[in-house]
């Protein structure tokens, strides 16, 4: 029997970065507390010891400066991996991300690329309130020139990080705090998976069908993949077979996989923990609604985070976050109504 190497996403990320650093002198890591501390979320643990302070650089609290610096390094052919500690901080440095990194290739007609990775933590659920709990997937997915990915488990995280570092384009690598595997944040056990020791890559433009089913399609990303899987397990007991899609990437979005699945199941629930309006679910639903040859048995449905700041008190926060129960209820309702049609 194959020996299992169970790793957390945090460990998988640092392992992937280390592998790239070993083979490419152009890779370096920069960010706040990523060197000595190994990253607030553990994803750069051990890198300073192995690669030293030239290639693993703690920065001042100057996101505009060091992300802009990464863009200049990338233009020069280096491959910086930079961390924006919480995605919530994008407001102090978005220009470097969306007007510089994202447009470098275009403004140079493809002559100057921007091979950089911006890794950033997303998500709430642990009481960190309105400026440290946001997902903001769509904020990034909406702006052209960025690849935007989010792994749901350690195996994917390692392969996607390797692919991200190798990609000649800026990749926003979002890791969800609830899956990160830092003890102090709790962790969905399913995100801790076997991770092969060697290097491998996972394509950044393909969604992954993590569970097949014929009755309804559940689309999730990051944390909500696990909620969808939990819901699918519960629905199974009621004879409903849900297909679960892990988007992995929201830009590019693998529209075909979603549409193919809905063509099969005839029903869709999109589940994400970003804000509702102009969010991930809107895009998923719109893509399906635009198709002219799908036979839907129920209206499309999205479960997302409501259009409110993230409240601190758990009584409020937990109530408004998506969860498996909400998915189950919604699926039941959709399929029941469809049965009446």
């Amino acid at each position: 029997m194959e020996k299992k190497r169970k790793l957390t996403i945090a460990k998988a990320m640092s392992e992937a970065i280390a592998l790239e650093m070993r083979t490419s002198p152009e890779v370096l890591v920069m960010g706040e507390d990523i060197a000595k501390l190994g990253g607030v979320f553990g994803n750069t643990q051990g890198l300073l010891d192995e690669f030293g302070p030239d290639r693993v650089r703690d920065t001042p609290i100057s996101e505009t400066a060091f992300i802009g610096t990464a863009v200049g390094m990338a233009a020069a052919g280096m491959k910086p991996v930079v961390e924006l500690m919480f995605v919530d901080f994008f407001g102090v440095c978005m220009d470097a991300i969306y007007n510089l990194a994202a447009k470098q290739s275009y403004f140079s007609g493809g002559n100057v690329t921007c091979p950089m990775v911006l890794m950033t933590s997303v998500g709430g659920g642990y009481g960190d309130a309105g400026q440290h709990s946001q997902a903001l997937f769509a904020t990034f997915g909406h702006l052209p020139g960025l690849k935007v990915v989010i792994p749901s488990n350690a195996y994917d995280a390692k392969g996607m990080m390797a692919a991200a570092i190798s990609d000649p384009n800026p990749v926003v690598f979002m890791f969800h705090k609830a899956l990160q595997g830092m003890g102090w944040l709790g962790t969905v056990p399913r995100s801790i998976t076997h991770v092969p020791e060697e290097r491998y890559t996972i394509a950044l433009d393909h969604a992954h069908i993590v569970r097949e089913g014929r009755d309804i399609t559940l689309v999730g990303l990051g944390h909500t993949v696990h909620l969808a899987l939990d819901a699918a397990a519960e629905l199974e007991g009621e004879g409903i077979e849900a297909e679960v899609i892990d988007l992995r990437s929201i830009a590019p979005l693998d529209r075909e996989t979603i549409i193919r699945s809905v063509a099969k199941t005839g029903a869709l629930i999109s589940v994400d923990d970003d804000y509702h309006s102009y969010g991930v679910g809107a895009e998923i639903l719109a893509n399906v609604a635009e198709q002219d040859d799908l036979h839907l048995k129920a209206p499309l449905k999205r479960i997302s985070y409501p259009d409110i700041p993230v409240p601190f008190a758990p009584e409020m926060e937990h109530a408004v976050l998506p969860n498996a129960g909400k998915i189950v209820t919604a699926a039941r309702k959709l399929l029941k109504e469809s049965a009446h049609v």
């Binding site: 706040e32 507390d33 000595k36 501390l37 607030v40 703690d58 920065t59 001042p60 609290i61 100057s62 505009t64 919530d88 901080f89 407001g91 102090v92 659920g125 642990y126 009481g127 960190d128 309130a129 309105g130 400026q131 440290h132 003890g183 102090w184 944040l185 709790g186 409501p306 259009d307 409110i308 700041p309 409240p311 601190f312 008190a313 758990p314 009584e315 409020m316 926060e317 109530a319 408004v320």
Partner: protein
């Protein structure tokens, strides 16, 4: 500007109150987070940034402020809030996420707003500075003499907002004081690894405003320097920058093992606990220990009552999440 005896005693009282507040937080924080530390659990979920050691910054500055004056604070706001006179019960309730908290449990420990004393804070580094300039300008435009104070950490002095707001305040001659609490670290990153010069106070020349470094984490010295700056602002003479040498006696946030500190550094810090030192000084100045004990007791009692109040207060209901998004 030397503090009067009653001002000294007020500073002592507020420092003790603040420290006791943090002590009670420490106990409550780990409830439900044992045996495995999980930030999401217990009555105080989320990050928790304690201010132990930094009390002199808060009291030395806020001693000069009235409720009409504004303060914007940081992710590490408790000492500042207490010195500014934020309602202790409502603040404790807020941190416990209760329905009668300052914001009904919506904001939590990094987002304390108390309109009655014009206090607020923000968890994004240096971003409270603009609102402080705004409060100052509102006062100025209305012909009032209220001032505003923006507190930040030394790490925040490398954020763009620092530069922009100091320049704007200077150009507009805003009645504002910028106070840097230099605790030598931004999370794990030492000041000298992040800041190009030794003293941020020297950056004031870039804005044509006075910049003063206050050594020693000393409430009386802070009082002195802040007094000048606040008076200057109130007199319409414009903004000032102050950097206060202070110490962070706890980890960056609770749960921080502080492996990034050099061997022995932490122990040495404890010998410099400003409250102990200040008490010793007051005793030296012939304030009867019994008086100080009494002050201490009352302050602690007030805090304990606030925690009691918070714990007995009702939690919000889930529907509350949807209200007050808009006025």
């Amino acid at each position: 500007m030397k503090p009067l005896q009653e001002q000294k005693l007020w500073m002592y009282e507020k420092m003790v109150e603040s420290r006791h507040f943090e002590d009670l937080i420490k106990r409550a924080y780990f409830e439900g987070k044992q045996p495995v530390f999980n930030m999401a659990k217990g009555p105080l979920p989320g990050e928790m940034h304690l201010s132990d050691g930094q009390e002199p910054c808060a009291v030395g500055v806020c001693a000069h402020l009235a409720p009409q004056d504004s303060v914007t604070a940081t992710h590490r706001p408790h000492h500042t809030a207490i010195a500014k006179g934020v309602n202790l019960n409502a603040m404790a309730s807020e941190i416990f996420g209760r329905a009668n908290g300052l914001s009904g449990g919506r904001g939590g420990h990094m987002h304390l707003f108390d309109k009655a004393v014009n206090f607020c804070c923000s968890g994004i580094i240096a971003q409270g500075m603009g609102p402080a300039v705004g409060a100052a300008m509102a006062s100025k435009l209305r012909g009032q003499q209220h001032v505003a104070v923006a507190f930040i950490g030394e790490g925040a002095a490398n954020q763009g907002a620092f530069h922009e707001t100091l320049n704007l305040a200077a150009v507009w001659n805003a009645p504002v004081v910028f106070v840097i609490e230099d605790n030598a670290y931004g999370i794990s990153v030492a000041k000298r690894a992040a800041t190009a010069i030794e003293r941020n106070a020297d950056r004031a020349v870039a804005y044509g405003m006075p910049g003063v470094f206050v050594p020693g984490n000393d409430p009386d010295l802070v009082f002195d320097v802040a007094g000048e700056a606040v008076a200057r602002a109130r007199a319409g003479e414009g903004p000032s920058l102050i950097e206060i040498e202070t110490i962070r006696l706890e980890g960056h946030f609770m749960g921080d093992a502080e492996g990034y500190r050099p061997e022995g550094e932490k122990d040495a810090l404890h010998a410099r606990d400003p409250i102990k030192l200040y008490r010793a000084r007051l005793e030296n100045q012939d304030i009867p220990p019994a008086d100080l004990d009494k002050i201490e007791q009352v302050a602690k009692q007030r805090v304990s009552a606030a925690f009691e109040h918070a714990r007995q207060s009702p939690a919000p209901v889930s529907e509350d999440a949807f209200t007050t998004v808009f006025a």
